[in-house]
Symmetry: C2
Subunit: 340 residues, 2 copies
């Protein structure tokens, strides 16, 4: 069968509607009884030999002449078809909620375009395309790497809440370069509240070191007495980290306010790891999230997303990004690997 290119679609006549739409979920019927295919659908039928040509072009010419991103959309479309899904190109009039940054709608297995149910809304990018963090959260990002392999990431807007409520007792600290030392800490500041770390390991008896975000938060709660108060701590934080300190403090404070305990995520290359349930450090559970703190207008490269998400998956934690705007308001974004 041969197709004809018209108005950004490929038109088919004859029994195309029965063969391709009714039984296999390609395209959309048109008024004259024929079938309209989006380019990615035509490419897929050409690649399988179900379609011979479009305006005389075979698969190779068709792929080369219908836009730079047709190749990667074809790879994703083929991959999901092979996994047993029917897909709809997310064109206006073809699917509900068409969005210029959504390329394909994936229907639940066993259903197709006529039912109109949605399993995933998919954005397709090559590994060299940057992605605005604020464009994610309600879609699956499918990234085609330089060798044509597809990786799927689900993206969501989670809520972080815990039940690690702790009223910090008062303590006195001293700034020491980029940390604060509490020489005579109340015992439960560390053991119940999980603030700070004992200084110098087991040999030292008692002293506790606090990170600058911990110290600034405690000072703000009125629980840490320190020369210069909270202002002195945040000033030191900005001196060693710049604006990033304010973003990290905003995230730290919001998590503590929500009864989630943030501790450093350094060993995982993140800003924080978080614990939703801390009763005592002797009975510490698994930390659930890795949190990376970003400016609100941050733009990801797919490669760094792959790195963060892979690492988090490997240590059975959820990867969460905190997007912090200039007023300190925070949007949460979680990204995880998806196997469709």
């Amino acid at each position: 069968m041969d197709g004809e290119w018209r108005d950004d679609r490929v038109l088919l006549g004859g029994d195309a509607r029965q063969r391709f739409y009714d039984s296999r979920g390609y395209g959309r019927p048109v008024d004259d009884g024929g079938l309209a295919l989006a380019p990615v659908e035509a490419a897929h039928l050409l690649s399988r030999g179900d379609l011979d040509t479009v305006d005389g072009e075979g698969f190779d010419r068709f792929l080369a002449t219908h836009g730079d991103t047709l190749g990667i959309r074809f790879l994703v479309y083929s991959d999901l078809r092979e996994r047993g899904f029917y897909l709809s190109p997310a064109r206006a009039g073809w699917v509900d909620d068409a969005d210029p940054e959504i390329d394909l709608v994936v229907h639940p297995r066993g259903t197709g375009p006529p039912e109109g149910q949605v399993e995933y809304r998919l954005r397709v990018v090559g590994e060299r395309t940057s992605i605005r963090a604020d464009s994610l959260g309600d879609r699956v990002l499918s990234v085609v790497d330089e060798e044509g392999e597809v990786t799927y990431f689900h993206t969501d807007r989670p809520t972080l809440e815990g039940d690690s409520r702790f009223d910090p007792p008062t303590a006195t600290g001293a700034l020491l370069a980029d940390r604060v030392v509490v020489w005579e800490p109340p015992r439960d500041l560390y053991e119940t509240g999980f603030y700070g770390q004992p200084l110098g390991g087991r040999e030292m008896d008692g002293a506790l070191q606090l990170s600058l975000v911990e110290a600034a938060y405690l000072a703000r709660q009125g629980a840490l007495s320190i020369d210069g108060g909270e202002a002195a701590v945040t000033e030191r934080g900005r001196a060693v980290e710049g604006e990033r300190f304010d973003r990290r403090l905003a995230v730290y404070a919001l998590l503590r306010d929500r009864a989630v305990v943030p501790k450093t995520g350094f060993k995982f290359g993140a800003d924080f790891r978080t614990y939703a349930h801390v009763e005592s450090i002797d009975d510490l559970g698994h930390s659930e999230n890795l949190v990376r703190v970003l400016p609100a207008d941050y733009v990801f490269t797919p490669r760094e997303l792959a790195l963060d998400v892979r690492l988090a998956g490997g240590v059975r934690k959820r990867m969460v990004f905190a997007q912090v705007d200039d007023e300190g308001a925070i949007d949460w974004l979680s990204v995880g690997r998806l196997t469709p």
Copy 2:
């Protein structure tokens, strides 16, 4: 016992030499029979109560008044002492090969300063200190995170060699956006040489897609015929990746020349994963290295090193950085987690 601060050292008299140097490896004897301590050693003895004061100052005052980095050096020194090592501050005249970027020399367990043997040469930094890639390779980097935990990284200058020799047969390709398609590939290009990936999964019969670095390298070998030749491929590469493409191609080419097979490392957030022994893709072993390509003058943040190294460790691969200069010359740097 009390010490006295003089010329950047702490001087002790009495039986200090016997108590601290002969039996426990602190400091260096001085001519008058006394003992000189570096600040980090004095801090450690103060923290343990073995020393009462230095010029009347106790541990807390001493730590606060002897430099911004004394705190982190103290944390590393204490950690390694607890692990059973003797250490020498790497001062000129105290150790061989003193280097301003080496802070501590760690002696093999059971030995001390008098024997002068070296287990590790240590650089100590806080997690906020940037590190030039070219300053690494023959030392252990110890990073103190914001909560005072120490992470150790061994750094080496490895040689990458393999035995995956393969003479590529000739093929014809076509540029398609940011990849190259070989519509009728010789079978062993993929199956033995591990060039490219089959296009569109199992459904497609035959066609192979090559990444731009694979295509550029094959064109340079005279094995890929393509419109515009190697120049057209590298031009496309630069259009989509900038200078980074030239660096990645230099690394790809050197690895292939050394009979190592590089494939994309995208799923690991790296540029390449590498296979030293490929006989056939049906019998593909484990890839040994993750390679990240960097400009020669690259500067790491400790956090990104932690991320890359942790991920590589989690998938049992070595993390290798390829530092590429403007002429395409490459220095290899491997970094791994060390538990002293």
